[in-house]
Symmetry: C2
Subunit: 155 residues, 2 copies
């Protein structure tokens, strides 16, 4: 058993969900866990490939599906034709953030500020929506679109 396969909190998540912990799964998880980027499956595959040329793109996709199913990862679409994957759980629970998307260059910025105000409003809205549409709301997604610093030009 390779070093590192022992001590990750995600290990117990895998085992607890009835899945096996394997090297590919750990490597892929670690990449997601140590980046702030919004990686596509292929991005992840390239990073993996540098140190583990044996791990295939298919496994990346399958692992991402698994992590999504387990609720550790979420897939986002920013309109460039490929999915982007982000860890949404830390060892201590949900790590919440929203996105700022540049419609010109495609850059994505995460933001965690201003969430306090949102919290109240979202709570209220969620309640209203749940009642009106008889819908059980479990999550939400907020994205602001516009032009980033570089793309909006002189300022």
């Amino acid at each position: 058993m390779p070093r590192g396969l022992r001590h990750h909190w995600c290990r117990s998540r895998f085992r607890g969900s009835g899945f096996r912990m394997t090297v590919p799964r750990e490597v892929i998880f670690n990449i997601l866990n140590s980046t702030d980027s919004h990686l596509s499956a292929e991005d992840i595959y390239h990073k993996v490939h540098r140190h583990y040329p044996g791990i295939g793109l298919t496994t990346v996709y399958r692992t991402l599906d698994l992590l999504s199913e387990m609720g550790l990862v979420r897939r986002f679409d920013f309109g460039d034709g490929r999915g982007r994957y982000e860890l949404i759980m830390g060892p201590k629970g949900k790590v919440h953030h929203h996105h700022l998307l540049c419609t010109s260059c495609g850059r994505v910025i995460d933001y965690k500020e201003f969430l306090e105000d949102e919290k109240q409003l979202l709570g209220k809205t969620e309640k209203g929506l749940s009642r009106k549409y008889n819908f059980k709301i479990t999550d939400h997604d907020i994205t602001f679109m516009g032009l980033c610093e570089k793309c909006k030009g002189g300022d």
Copy 2:
């Protein structure tokens, strides 16, 4: 010139943007303009095809791109691997709504309620984000995810 090519407000939009008004464009626009669904390119193609078998899928895609570029249509991704297109302008300006997405069956509900409260908060947040990230915000997208009436089962 087929009947109907004359009197649509979108016609002047096309002409004003330097594009020609054609039968396919009008037909595709009309479909978007008379549905509450979240149609994919293929969905639109099938609807078109019933009455105008000559219009191809490629033209549907190209027209949707054009309408997006003109700001009349927006493409949404609900995670099922294909884009969904919605008219976001009416003759009187922007028609704003948000989405409720069932993570089990994929159903999407539009909602227009509760937007008043949102407006204030979003304005405030936008201002904060613009300043902090030097970002010019032009639009936003809010989606609530969860289980719809049918999928959440007994109540």
